[in-house]
């Protein structure tokens, strides 16, 4: 099956006072309809910047997409005008954010905001758009949607607000949904509900989902494929099962060893020493070299190529075969 979303050679830079920050470097991936791709990494690895680049929501200047293409059903979003892009957002590709309180407008009712989104893309009467909003809120299992639609974001709980965001994002049945840490701000019982909801809607609508998260547990339970990002670059890619069974990049190995697991033994947690390097003036070679236990001379001078090490499982590392 042809992928719905195809990203290739994406490069995004941020011009800062300290110099040019290469936030996203040569990132490529694709997602098929109804599938979930997880982008995994820690703060500053470029995962959110990648998401914002796909939506073309980066503030420019200082941020600039310098190369690459983002194709949704064959159309390159980076070649569209801003006017055309506005039609695409919400209709073909939509996004939900980590903090629904800041993503929703506090002075408009939730129903109004969803209806507004619908009427931007479809010729509907005010009444019909409102009904669609209420319908959608029922769809995301918000209790008493007729009443809730007339409420403001602050009157809802965090989980409810995230449901409202999902209702808005999926109201026009987009082909691609980008979910940027959608459950990080939620309690675990609510997180489970929201993840179940996204999965159900995805199955029903055949949406391709790009899930951005730092939580390996969430990845394991929801994603079909995953890519691991570090300091703006993709360092590993493959099916979720393969990456968990046989992580190749020392960074992913370290990440997996550093997460305490329920039911695990009380061994000492594995640490990854040091911190993510600042993305300004990155050293030559592998960006992980300073924290890597397997580092060799070559790692400090040459960037390791992203190559397939197993069938459908690739990594950027000189040392792992």
């Amino acid at each position: 099956m042809a992928p719905v979303l195809e990203v290739s050679g994406l490069n995004t830079i941020v011009q800062s006072r300290e110099g040019i920050v290469r936030a996203v470097q040569d990132v490529s991936f694709s997602v098929e309809a109804g599938k979930t791709l997880a982008i995994v990494g820690e703060s500053g690895c470029g995962k959110t910047m990648t998401a914002l680049s796909l939506m073309r929501l980066v503030p420019s200047p200082p941020v600039k997409i310098t190369a690459g293409s983002v194709k949704v059903a064959g159309v390159d979003l980076l070649s569209l005008t801003e006017r055309e892009m506005r039609d695409v957002r919400g209709r073909d590709i939509a996004m939900i954010f980590q903090e629904p309180m800041t993503a929703l407008n506090p002075v408009l009712t939730v129903g109004y905001q969803i209806a507004e989104m619908v009427s931007m893309h479809e010729k509907l009467s005010k009444k019909a758009a409102w009904d669609r909003a209420v319908d959608m809120m029922r769809h995301v299992r918000i209790p008493a949607p007729e009443r809730r639609a007339q409420e403001y974001p602050h009157q809802m709980s965090g989980g409810m607000r995230q449901r409202a965001m999902i209702a808005m994002a999926l109201a026009c049945r987009p082909k691609v949904l980008i979910a940027d840490e959608p459950t990080t701000a939620l309690d675990v019982t609510i997180q489970a509900q929201v993840l179940d909801l996204i999965k159900d809607l995805q199955t029903e609508m055949g949406t391709a989902v790009v899930l951005i998260t730092h939580d390996l547990g969430v990845v394991a339970e929801t994603a079909d494929r995953m890519i691991v990002m570090y300091a703006g670059r993709k360092v590993e890619e493959g099916t979720t099962a393969a990456l968990f069974a046989d992580p190749l990049h020392p960074y992913l190995r370290g990440l997996m060893g550093s997460v305490p697991r329920m039911g695990g033994t009380a061994q000492r947690l594995q640490e990854i020493s040091g911190i993510v390097p600042p993305l300004v003036n990155l050293p030559p070679g592998c960006t992980f070299a300073d924290r890597c236990s397997m580092v060799r001379d070559r790692c400090r001078t040459d960037v390791p190529p992203f190559t397939e090490k197993r069938s459908d499982h690739a990594a950027a590392c000189w040392e792992t075969a």
Partner: protein, 320 residues
């Protein structure tokens, strides 16, 4: 054996004022009658979702927030009987590390001065001795004495949390409240800080009250665990018992909701619905009954008490 920290019937309510002459209309029941104890050199985990009152507990046992009711005994001393001055002196023995290392360090003080502050306040030793002690503390938490002259913004999140830990260690406490100490950190850095806390416990025999919403972290660091829901403890036992045989339906739901980082485990999970209710208008009877898959008529009317069901395993549920 008497416990290092013994808490009985701890309560904290906040009045909600509104309307004419600021009349008290409603009460927020943040902490509602808690009994627990922390043994010397051990870690008690306090786990629950946002709004369950776990952070309020951490603050009330240090009397950073005055409790509304209940007794707190630390090293045999009843804290309620102490004056402010005496309480201040006792805080050399009981310290706290907060969640957010960005807001808990004064941005205008150098890291060394932040750690030295309590030593200065309690006038420990001479100035030179204090400086040596700070340098030593920096080394113990994995920083270098060279970094004493730097400001908080020059450190990463994990390093800042190390400064906060050094500050807590400075006066030589036997007990530290760790309020979500790793929640704001990246996973790889989380591991560094968890290991540090456990090393310090092994070396100094520190006791922790470890407050967290993360069950996996709690299982990793704690000896005993108390699960809180809406201001009350619903289950309280040793870590091993809790994780091998959870009894309260809320504990079970919480464990089922934690995503497991292993894609080969395809669990068919039953997730509980609903939101955590507000601590202002709490459900009648068992506070968990509107979300509980096993709820019966009795749960709606009668408060379950926390009682021992098996050796050292206490549960507040009518059905267990």
């Amino acid at each position: 054996m008497t416990a290092l920290l013994q808490v009985e019937g701890l309560r904290k309510t906040y009045p909600l004022k509104s309307g004419f002459l600021s009349r008290v209309h409603e009460m927020v029941h943040a902490v509602d009658g808690l009994d627990f104890q922390v043994q010397a050199g051990q870690t008690l985990g306090l786990v629950g979702e946002s709004g369950c009152g776990k952070s309020t507990v951490g603050r009330t046992v240090l009397r950073l927030v005055e409790p509304t009711g209940g007794a707190i005994k630390f090293e045999g001393v009843d804290l309620a009987s102490l004056s402010r001055g005496q309480m201040r002196m006792l805080r050399q023995r009981m310290q706290i590390v907060f969640q957010d290392p960005f807001s808990s360090l004064n941005p205008r003080m150098k890291a060394g001065a932040i750690v030295a502050e309590s030593l200065n306040a309690f006038a420990v030793g001479t100035a030179a001795e204090r400086k040596d002690r700070v340098a030593h503390l920096f080394e113990r938490v994995g920083l270098t004495p060279r970094q004493m002259g730097m400001y908080p913004h020059q450190f990463s999140g994990g390093q800042r949390q190390r400064i906060a830990i050094a500050r807590a260690l400075a006066p030589g406490p036997s007990f530290i409240v760790a309020d979500e100490p790793v929640s704001a950190l990246d996973v790889s850095v989380q591991a560094q800080v968890i290991n540090l806390l456990m090393d310090l416990q092994a070396q100094d025999g520190l006791a922790y009250l470890f407050i967290s919403h993360n069950l996996a972290v709690v299982e990793h660091v704690c000896h005993d665990v108390a699960v809180m829901y809406l201001g009350r403890i619903v289950e309280y036992t040793s870590k091993n018992r809790l994780f091998s045989r959870p009894l309260h339906p809320y504990t079970k739901a919480l464990m089922a909701a934690v995503p497991i980082p292993d894609p080969s485990l395809k669990r068919e999970k039953q997730h509980i619905g609903g939101d955590v209710p507000s601590p202002i208008n709490r459900p009648s009877g068992c506070h968990f009954h509107p979300r509980c898959p096993m709820a019966q008529a009795r749960c709606r009317t009668e408060d379950p008490v926390l009682r021992e069901v098996e050796g050292g395993h206490r549960v507040a549920c009518h059905l267990v």
